[in-house]
Assembly symmetry: C2
Homo-oligomer: 233 residues x 2
Amino acid sequence: MEKAVTEKRPPAVVLLSGGLDSATCMAIAREQDFAIHALSFRYGQRHEYELDRAVALAKHFDAVSHRIVEINLSQFGGSALTDQSIVVPKADSVEQIGNEIPVTYVPARNTVFLSLALAFAETIGSVDLFIGVNSLDYSGYPDCRPEYIAAFQTMANLATQSGTSGRKLTIHTPLINLTKGEIIQTGLRLGVDYSMTLSCYDPGPGGKPCGHCDACLLRQKGFNENHLQDPAG
Amino acid sequence: MEKAVTEKRPPAVVLLSGGLDSATCMAIAREQDFAIHALSFRYGQRHEYELDRAVALAKHFDAVSHRIVEINLSQFGGSALTDQSIVVPKADSVEQIGNEIPVTYVPARNTVFLSLALAFAETIGSVDLFIGVNSLDYSGYPDCRPEYIAAFQTMANLATQSGTSGRKLTIHTPLINLTKGEIIQTGLRLGVDYSMTLSCYDPGPGGKPCGHCDACLLRQKGFNENHLQDPAG
């Protein structure tokens, strides 16, 4: 926090998972000239490779600070992403992804993450939160939709000292209406090195993507739309 | 969770701090014939005496389950309740409590707690959350007001699988419009033993109330209104 004295840019809290979307979201926050305070979570996820990527990405994008908060959502269970005994669904193409909320949905995950981001934002005097949710090429999670984000923002402005003192708090979701292809285009323009990101729900040793979970299939679709090879292999 | 098989009452998640309000709130949930799943937090609070009280209260009220979730809000700082270097304000009467949000406000605390309660509720199939917030005899925290709770409920119904599948989620706040005196009256009618509760923000050794923080003064006011002696001394 030593940089705060000379820091003139407004502070923004950026949720950073280490995946393609949050990396792009952070690049956008930086382009908009915010001082980035990255926030990641050790929440009992299946693998921690993504946290290593988050650390490297925060450094790459000159984040003013990066915190990894411990909150064990696996103690509640109920998701393939936090319960090793539930199998992550696999398919061969995005067309095979169902319309129902899948077992990889973690109950209230974005609400928990945004709430903790809100707590952190208030302590550093920030009224700008960035989250890389997307409601087009996504797994169908309810907490990725625009109406959910709008409701969270309304609640957040009633919840906090900053919100109630007239400084309006904004949940920025720059990716929410982009296709995966458009997200990648945006990121490439802003210098995101996608070889540093990891999207897979269920990677093998060393963080090797499985290639068949929803996240891998959607990522592949994005690179295909741009006629590009995924640099992460 | 073994009781679940024969349990016919609907499950409710009850936030339980170990204080006077949450104990009364739990008694109300039990009277309304919910199966109680109590939830407490080790969040970096100044003292853990209240958690011992929470454990005893959950047992006393036959909670089906009681979880204590670890979430270190003190790493963000910014509150006298999580930062030992900030002094808890003391006074001699409730009239001396200011109108501004005090330093005991923990940024976004109720939002973080309710979010985790929401995650837990979804994994046990509950759509009923109880929280003992009060907006009359309180410290002026923004996240205790009815408009905040209403906004959280709207958000929660958009955030979750249960909310979006047509099972409406309710945040129950049975104490929100009661005076401290009325809360105590209600609790006594429902068999709450207030000697088991601890309200003080800054207790001494053994959990002895300081008698001068906002929480102690408001509690004293409640017993005074009922012409009763506080059984906790």
